[in-house]
């Protein structure tokens, strides 16, 4: 199995993602430079966090026009698994692979802390290894995670079970108090209609070893790897 981690100018979670895949021993990992025009035979593409192109214009707005994005859009349209984390989620929104947009956090602050996530869909290709009833503890680190989408699309996301993660308290209650950024409906992560593209603001790659405070992120990467194996056999 081969994971490809995209490196834009300004990405800063690329090596963390690399390390997570290595630590979990899930397979081969390569970097995909933003100027590359192919995903180079990867089974999974990770768009990591950071500040691609300095967040100029809007987060993710310039990255989406990189040569590699054309290859990733084609890869996704052919069913390839893509996970965008934080800035990677913002890039997926700008590229139109996921619906909605990010606004600045409600309190205008960059927020960096552990949050709790209620897993709302355990059947997705990104979460099927998450234990039922387990509330995930994973850090966030962003200034623009205030998810917005119009009401029709929000209804569709609910009806089609595509809201994967919601910010919650440690017992899994989705409350206003547990919402760190003002995101609509406490949305922390969503998938596309076909279920092969996930965007999430929290950083699972920073939570794959217990000495980091949590290793709940491993459930997500193990789910992804399990999906690739299932689909190959």
């Amino acid at each position: 199995m081969k994971f490809g981690i995209v490196v834009f100018p300004g990405s800063n979670c690329d090596y963390d993602s690399y390390q997570a895949i290595k630590t979990l021993d899930l397979g081969e990992v390569i970097y995909l430079w933003h100027g590359d025009t192919s995903v180079n035979g990867c089974d999974v593409v990770i768009l990591p966090g950071g500040f691609s192109y300095g967040d100029y214009l809007r987060s993710g707005a310039i990255a989406r026009f990189s040569p590699i994005m054309k290859a990733i859009i084609e890869f996704a349209e052919n069913g390839g698994l893509v996970i965008g984390i934080c800035n990677g989620f913002q890039v997926l929104l700008e590229a139109g692979l996921l619906p909605g947009a990010m606004r600045k956090n409600l309190d205008m602050r960059f927020v960096c802390k552990d949050v709790y996530l209620k897993v709302q869909n355990h059947d997705s290709r990104f979460t099927h290894f998450c234990p039922k009833n387990k509330v995930l503890k994973i850090p966030i680190a962003h200034a623009e995670g205030n998810y917005y989408v119009d009401k029709d699309v929000l209804d569709e996301l609910y009806e089609t079970n595509r809201i994967i993660f919601q910010y919650s308290d440690k017992d899994g209650n989705v409350t206003d108090g547990a919402n760190p950024n003002g995101a609509l409906a406490n949305i922390a992560g969503i998938i596309n209609r076909e279920g092969n593209v996930l965007g999430m603001m929290p950083h699972p790659e920073r939570a794959c070893e217990s000495f980091l405070g949590s290793d709940d992120g491993r459930f997500i990467f193990k789910s992804i790897a399990g999906s690739v194996i299932n689909e190959k056999t």
Binding site: L57, A61, F65, L93, G100, A101, K104, L106, Y148, G182
Partner: protein
């Protein structure tokens, strides 16, 4: 072909919360301006370009706004010829 300077203003759609605008409004209130009801932020782009006519220049500007300068999920834009 003529050179035109096109002004493209990008602003949040009505109903989309503008946290920067809210924060600035609060700051203005702290400066003892009492009558400020709301502040909305936006972005301004002046683009110099070659086009065959005013209409063509405006069409190019709309295209730029649709494709890159505005995120039409949350933003509207307005184009005008500056000169």
């Amino acid at each position: 072909m003529t050179n035109y300077v096109v002004k493209i203003e990008v602003k949040f759609k009505p109903g989309v919360l503008d946290p920067q605008g809210e924060t600035i409004k609060n700051a203005l209130s702290n400066l003892n301006y009492s009558g400020i009801e709301s502040v909305k932020t936006g972005k301004l782009f002046n683009v110099s370009l070659e086009a065959g006519s005013v209409d063509e220049a405006l069409n190019i500007a709309r295209d730029l706004a649709d494709k890159l300068l505005a995120n039409t999920v949350i933003e509207d834009y307005e184009v005008n010829i500056l000169r």
